[in-house]
């Protein structure tokens, strides 16, 4: 019992963390699936989402639950604008992955330093969704706001799934992910699909920031660690696979939480790297991935 209880507690923490990683990772994997690029500014979309929530709640006095959809809407528009202005040449000129990596890195750097210059480098704490209290599950107690925020994340994930599985634009996204040329031949507007994908992914990252920053702290570089973890998650789950992103997130969340109790807490953020090495060694295409040959 002495060891078992913290392990169970940490398993639950791992599951909760996993649901946040999933919000980020699903967006990343959608972008990768549809546009074949990795968005290195994803962490900064998270950070922006956190700041928008913070200012909506503290300056305008809007309730967190009302502010969350506003954050997602704003980030949706922002993501579409980024695609239209900066990522479009990837499709129109067929540029290689160096372009997409460097331009999204530039966007990331710009947003971090924009936040430092205009929001200030100090830590901010957005007010929680509900007052902190502990929920007792038998002998284990977990904090109620974490549980609520994880539930909200799960709801957003289910809604996202419905958009992709049941709507016309979701169908176009899946078609584009499978075969871009084929989708174009069938009359799908690949530009519009890319723009929508970027908007959706950016809204998800923003939601993740708006949720998680009430638990963790908010600062201009707050997005870096969640972003690195979601890169590991999509490599683990298989790039472009939505199921992989969700399962990978949960696995990473659990590995980290167990590593914290069983090995060392100081290296909490480093376990993801070990996971990445193992994935690269054992199954480079990821859990749900298929080996893709690029021509």
């Amino acid at each position: 019992m002495g060891v078992a209880l913290p392990i169970v507690e940490n398993l639950i923490t791992g599951l909760i963390m996993g649901s946040f990683y999933a919000l980020m990772a699903v967006g990343l994997t959608l972008i990768f699936g549809v546009m074949r690029i990795v968005n290195f500014a994803h962490g900064e979309f998270y950070m922006l989402g956190g700041y928008i929530l913070y200012y909506l709640v503290t300056l305008l006095g809007i309730n967190n639950f009302v502010a969350l959809p506003i954050v997602m809407g704003a980030m949706f528009v922002f993501g579409m604008a980024v695609e239209r202005s900066l990522l479009r040449p990837i499709i129109t000129e067929g540029l290689g992955h160096e372009y997409s990596i460097i331009i999204t890195f530039g966007i990331s750097l710009f947003l971090v330093n924009f936040a430092i210059a205009f929001f200030g480098p100090e830590y901010k704490t957005p007010p929680p969704y509900i007052p902190t209290y502990r929920v007792a599950l038998g002998p284990i107690s977990i904090s109620g706001d974490r549980l609520l925020v994880a539930t909200l994340a799960a709801v957003i994930l289910v809604l996202t799934y419905l958009v992709i599985a049941k709507t016309k634009i979701g169908l176009a996204m899946r078609a584009t992910a499978q075969n871009k040329e084929g989708a174009m031949l069938c009359g799908m507007d690949v530009y519009k699909v890319s723009m929508f994908t970027m908007g959706l992914a950016s809204a998800l990252a923003g939601a993740s920031g708006a949720l998680l920053s009430t638990i963790l702290l908010l600062e201009p570089q707050a997005g870096l660690i969640p972003a690195i973890k979601s890169y590991v998650v999509i490599a683990l789950g298989g790039m472009g696979s939505i199921a992989g992103a969700v399962v990978g997130s949960v696995i990473l969340g659990i590995i980290e939480s167990l590593g914290t109790v069983l090995i060392s807490a100081a290296y909490r953020d480093a376990y993801s790297f070990l996971v990445l090495i193992l994935v690269l060694l054992i199954r480079p295409e990821g859990l749900f991935g298929i080996r893709v040959r690029e021509v």
Binding site: I37, V38, F40, L86, P89, G96, H97, E98, Y99, I101, I102, I103, F105, G106, I107, L109, F110, V112, N113, F114, I116, A117, P121, Q221, L224, I225, I228, Y231, V232, A235, M239, A266, Y267, D269, A270, S272, F273, L276, I277, L280, L281, P284, V292, R293, E294, V295
Partner: protein, 313 residues
């Protein structure tokens, strides 16, 4: 690309070298000698990053981390093994090469973006280790280390840095113009096509990454013994951002581009020191605008313009 008649190009190169060699006699101000020395350090890092991103087509996010690996390996061996900084720098170089071999071997077999992700994760774990293991590294306070040369002036360092830079640029020039250089560019253009004509692309990528990382670690080790302090800052994200901005603005995929970009942005950076926090914001803007609208950078764009004015292709 390098097959044009040597005369104007060779002449300009020679002129630039003579100018750099004689600068300490012209600029009598120690401060600017210091700025130039730091500029040379960045020029080495930008030139080597450019070999990966501009020629091999692989973007490394661990470039600053490799400079830090070289710096720490050298500083720690000088501290504990009591070796001379020169030997320390050699140890730093070898350490960087060993690390790069493992990372390259693991991730370069896969598609391009896996390599970038691996380097990002590696850079981050390196930063965490250095910060957490403060008994050995003194954490974010930084590790004090011996100076390479006992001198009151920056001029000896200036020449060491210049020698390292010229060595880097010329060895890169020789490699890119060799058969191996053609393989690098073939893999950079299309890995599938390169494989199809019998190039062992995995080997080309691993060897190139090893070469690049060894030189980067050497530069980092030099930087540590120049400043006299090695801190996690050497491998920080900001440093990586600077290196990328310098390469992209100067001209990615060209040999002089990164050097020009590094010296230009280092001066700009000193000039902007009073603007502090806006410095990186401006550099990020430069990266975005250059990559989006002037993909060949300053050098590439100028060269294109000059050629089109001259009328010869």
């Amino acid at each position: 690309m390098f097959r044009q008649p040597l005369s104007p190009k060779g002449f300009l190169t020679l002129l630039a070298i003579v100018a750099l060699l004689s600068l300490p006699f012209i600029i009598r101000h120690e401060y600017w000698i210091y700025v130039l020395t730091i500029g040379f350090y960045y020029a080495i890092l930008a030139s080597t990053w450019n070999v990966m991103a501009g020629y091999l087509g692989r973007v490394s996010f661990a470039h600053a981390a490799f400079a830090a690996i070289g710096a720490y390996a050298s500083a720690l061996s000088v501290l504990h093994l009591k070796v001379h900084p020169v030997l320390g720098m050699a140890i730093g170089t070898v350490t960087g090469a060993v690390f790069s071999f493992f990372i390259g071997y693991l991730s370069l077999r896969l598609r391009g973006v896996y390599f970038t992700l691996s380097t990002l994760a590696f850079a981050e774990i390196f930063r965490i280790i250095v910060t957490v293991e403060y008994e050995y590294t003194r954490g974010s306070l930084g590790l004090e280390t011996e100076h390479l040369i006992v001198t009151m002036s920056y001029i000896p360092y200036y020449y060491v840095a210049l020698a390292l830079l010229l060595g880097t640029v010329f060895s890169t020039y020789l490699i890119l113009n060799s058969a191996f250089g053609l393989k690098i560019m073939a893999v950079g253009n299309s890995e599938e096509a390169a494989e199809a004509i019998g190039i062992d692309s995995a080997k080309v990528k691993v060897v190139t990454f090893l070469y690049v990382s060894a030189l980067t670690s050497l530069a980092g080790a030099f930087y540590g013994h120049f400043i006299g302090l090695v801190s996690p800052e050497v491998g920080a994200f900001d440093q990586l951002a600077l290196i990328i901005a310098m390469t992209v603005v100067g001209g990615m995929g060209t040999l002089p581009g990164p050097v020009i970009g590094a010296l230009l942005l280092e001066f700009f950076s000193e000039y902007l020191r009073e603007f502090g926090i806006f410095r990186l914001l401006i550099f990020a803007g430069l990266i975005i605008v250059t990559v989006r609208f002037f993909r060949r950078g300053l050098y590439g764009t100028l060269k294109e313009r000059l050629i089109s004015v001259g009328g010869s292709p």
